[in-house]
């Protein structure tokens, strides 16, 4: 860990990472701590926030529920010095605990915000009907079609508030059917701090097909509809491209500054 010369952000790196195996049981705060420590272990030049109690500039899109796996989770970190994204991913991976792995990293322009207002996630949810259910007895297809055809999807949120999240439900399909189990693909939107959650869909489904047990919960992908993740999963191919990205990043930064 070399002496940090500066802690001011010069560029942002977006990470697509997975959280599987034992790491599924890390709560969101545990995950933040895990990344912060991994960054220190990897000796990355992380940028720190200003103020009385500086903290490392890392951002995470939409926390996963404890126990759920994530295959394409999104995070971003601001660095105080240029680091090749591919090398950063490698260094982070050797510093992360079992089950947390960075799959891709790419440069993005610095901006004040994080992942924007709209986050779309794709889920694979394995559900099971009760043991006595004969194979094939549940018509998953039409149950899902019924949910999509409904005008509203009413869910209860904290404080007993009932909200309609039907427009946050973008797609539903049966991925796999096996005996009394099915894997349901859900495409869900988080917008303006309101989202449809996998368990909302399962609850609504139960009203149509009877009691269900969630066997496993896996988020396959998260996409943020904002400029910061504009790389869209692209890894910069060449050092030249990286340098271009970096210079664009610092342009964006000075623009952001100017606007402050």
């Amino acid at each position: 860990m070399g002496a940090a010369t500066t802690t001011e952000a010069v560029l942002r790196i977006v990470l697509s990472y997975s959280k599987t195996g034992p790491a599924r049981y890390l709560g969101h705060l545990d995950l933040l701590r895990t990344f912060q420590r991994a960054v220190r272990r990897a000796g990355l030049p992380i940028a720190y926030s200003k103020g009385f109690n500086p903290h490392p500039r890392m951002m995470f899109a939409s926390p996963l529920p404890v126990g759920a796996a994530g295959l394409g989770e999104l995070a971003a970190m601001d660095l105080a010095a240029y680091t090749d994204p591919r090398a950063l991913a490698g260094r982070l991976n050797s510093a992360l605990p079992g089950g947390v792995r960075v799959n891709k990293a790419w440069l993005a322009p610095l901006a004040r915000g994080t992942f924007g207002a709209e986050i779309t996630s794709v889920w694979s949810v394995r559900v099971a009907a009760p043991e006595e259910t004969p194979p094939g007895a549940v018509d998953w297809q039409s149950a899902l079609a019924g949910l999509l055809g409904a005008a509203e999807l009413r869910v209860e949120r904290s404080g007993g508030k009932v909200r309609d999240v039907r427009d946050r439900l973008l797609g539903l399909s049966v991925e796999e059917e096996c005996g009394r189990e099915a894997v349901i693909e859900m495409v869900l939107l988080q917008k303006d701090e309101l989202s449809a959650k996998p368990l909302d869909v399962v609850c609504a489904l139960e009203k149509r097909v009877g009691p269900l047990k969630v066997v496993s919960l896996e988020r396959r992908a998260v996409t943020a509809d904002s400029a910061q993740s504009g790389g869209g999963g692209r890894l910069s191919e060449s050092p030249a491209a990286n340098a271009r990205d970096a210079s664009r990043a610092s342009d964006a930064k000075s623009r952001a500054r100017g606007g402050e």
């Binding site: 860990m1 790491a23 049981y25 709560g27 545990d30 220190r40 126990g67 605990p97």
Partner: protein, 615 residues
């Protein structure tokens, strides 16, 4: 070995599944092909507590440093997890490979508190291992226990095959060697062979005799065993190995930081303190070595806090320069330094001021008693002026909150000593107001005195629970003033602790009975069930007051007489007698050798303190 799918179902239902999931950074994985000994260190408390124990990480490191041994970890399951494991018919398993504990060759418990005994029984039982040592057969793991409680092991002796007395890293290798060499022998023989290792106590090889009064009258040693068993001590503390890659907990632990031991032992000589006696002699690490260890641990842990640990870090002769060096070297990388224990003096406050640039947390001091008289009696060498100076130094440097620890029920304590706590605190606040217009918030933590084995107070009676209640009421009334908060321990808990801390083997059925009736996590307020313990004592016909509340005669056979801490009974008795004349015994590093026995008995090659310490 369990598969994750087997565990997923129960983990999805427990409160904090990360406790039981494993996969941490620096957790050791090994190819089992070359492994001859499979061991599990089992901490009889929750993950967050066990992962914070330096001793636990040390033993894990020492065992895994051997090519022929694979050591894994397990922790006491919280009641929700215990229920789930039982419901699913699963055993308690190791976090490294999800292997049921019953498949281990060696189970190691670390007992730092008597209130974790019931949890150890849970761990054994959940692994299908008979809780009574005598019921274990053939392939059952060999259960070894260590930690400070091993110095008074009898209440749990019937549950444990062997105790390691003293500093574990000094003996664990010999235990592993012995178990590897004896792997084809019958279990009973393997346990018997452990007794030939210095510092290892095998309870099956000692039989107690009882006199007509029902009290211990002596013991008989089985052939091949000799008593007392002397504790093990690390002689070269400077160079002894330490966890090079400590396992980083996956969830927030009690201590989430680098711990570097700067010193072992303590020569303050407080008469109530067990740790101060059983960890003698004092050994220090050089500042250079401390700096080297800290620098090596930063990049492999990712922590941003270095804690300099010992029983009294302000007494470490290099503390000033170590703190300065660490802050200079690592401060620019955002790394902080912390000291777990402060002395009551301005020197300590100035140290704290150096490292705590933001006065976020309060400062904590332990004057232990409210009056100078009582402090002299317990050999806590602090005057009222020291307390005022330390507090003044704190508020002058910006602290607005101070915490004081006191004990009630100390030997020779009068009501005036208790009211003295309130007087002392009031004066501290008055001075802050008058001298600096500071409104100082004071919190007082009051715990009940628990006499411990191997201390000058080992013969003393503990005040009865009702007397402790009365003293607490008095303290509550006396400290009812603005800006003062008082917290206290339940006297019932203190009596249980005292009975378990100084009991003989007759306590084992009590522990077993309480555990069967549901006693778990006895140090956790939300779990405490004194009714269960009360009926366990009644059912087994054991009177807790016999062990907690009875003044013992100096000549009596004590249930820990077969364990030698290196400090002589003559010295302890002499110290106890000085209590009555309220006579201080100064720190031997600053005055002269008081002949406690540690040097002559255990470490004749070790420098004698006092006159030659500063050579």
């Amino acid at each position: 070995m369990y598969t994750t799918t087997q565990l997923d179902d129960i983990l999805s239902r427990v409160e904090k599944p990360a406790r039981y999931a494993g996969g941490e950074y620096n957790a050791v994985t090994k190819d089992l092909a070359g492994v001859k000994l499979r061991a599990a260190m089992v901490f009889p408390d929750v993950y967050e507590v066990g992962m914070s124990s330096l001793g636990f990480q040390i033993l894990y490191h020492f065992l895994n440093a051997r090519d022929d041994t694979y050591c894994e970890r397990a922790f006491a399951p919280w009641p929700d997890m215990e229920r789930e494991l039982r419901g699913a018919g699963l055993s308690l398993y190791t976090l490294e490979t999800y292997t049921p504990l019953g498949e281990m060759d060696l189970i190691g418990f670390s007992f730092g508190s008597e209130k974790t005994y019931t949890n150890a029984l849970t761990c054994l039982d959940l692994a299908g291992i008979p809780v009574w040592s005598k019921d274990r057969t053939g392939g059952d793991p060999i259960v070894v226990a260590g930690g400070h409680c091993a110095f008074s092991p009898e209440p749990v002796a019937p549950f444990v095959d062997a105790f390691a007395i003293g500093e574990g890293e000094d003996v664990i290798g010999e235990i592993a060697d012995s178990l590897v060499a004896s792997s084809v022998q019958p279990r009973e023989e393997r346990v018997r062979l452990l007794a030939s290792i210095p510092g290892v106590y095998v309870p099956a090889m000692l039989t107690w005799n009882y006199g007509a009064d029902g009290r211990l009258s002596g013991w008989e040693a089985a052939p091949g065993a000799s008593f007392p068993v002397s504790k093990r001590v690390v002689r070269d503390f400077e160079n002894v190995d330490y966890p090079r890659r400590p396992v980083i907990p996956n969830m927030e632990a009690v201590h989430d930081r680098i711990s570097v031991e700067v010193m072992r032992g303590c020569t303050q000589g407080c008469r109530f303190c067990q740790a101060g006696i059983i960890t003698r002699p004092v050994r220090e690490r050089s500042p250079g070595r401390v700096g080297e260890i800290a620098s090596g641990l930063l990049p492999v842990t990712g922590y941003d806090d270095i804690s300099l640990v010992s029983l009294s870090t302000a007494d470490y002769s290099g503390v000033d320069c170590v703190v300065r060096d660490l802050v200079e070297t690592h401060g620019p990388d955002g790394v902080g330094v912390s000291l777990p224990s402060l002395r009551v003096d301005t020197f300590s406050v100035n140290l704290a001021a150096q490292i705590q640039t933001v006065r976020k947390t309060g400062l904590t001091f332990a004057p232990e008693a409210g009056t100078e008289r009582l402090r002299r009696a317990i050999n806590k060498n602090i005057t009222d002026a020291d307390v005022f100076d330390a507090a003044e130094s704190a508020w002058r440097q910006g602290w607005k909150r101070i915490k004081f620890y006191f004990m009630i029920g100390l030997p020779t304590e009068t009501d005036d000593d208790i009211v003295g706590i309130a007087r002392l605190v009031r004066e501290v606040q008055r001075r802050a107001r008058a001298g600096g217009r500071v409104r100082l918030d004071v919190s007082i933590g009051a715990s009940s005195f628990v006499p411990k084995a191997h201390t000058p107070f080992q013969w003393r009676a503990q005040a009865s629970p009702s007397e402790l209640e009365r003293k607490l009421r008095l303290l509550r009334e006396a400290t009812r003033m603005p800006g003062v908060r008082l917290s206290w321990d339940d006297p019932a808990e203190s009596q249980l602790e005292a009975a378990l801390a100084r009991g003989d083997r007759r306590l084992a059925p009590v522990i077993h009975e309480a555990w069967k009736a549901g006693a778990r996590f006895d140090s956790w307020q939300e779990c405490q069930r004194w009714d269960v313990w009360r009926s366990a004592f009644e059912k087994t016909g054991v009177d807790p007051a016999e062990f907690a509340g009875r003044r013992r005669a100096y000549g009596e056979v004590l249930p820990w007489d077969h364990i030698d801490s290196g400090v002589t009974k003559t010295y302890l008795k002499q110290e106890d007698e000085r209590t009555l004349i309220e006579e201080l015994t100064p720190d031997c590093r600053e005055s002269r050798c008081h002949a406690c026995g540690i040097i002559d008995g255990l470490m004749p090659e070790h420098a004698r303190y006092g006159s030659c310490y500063h050579d």
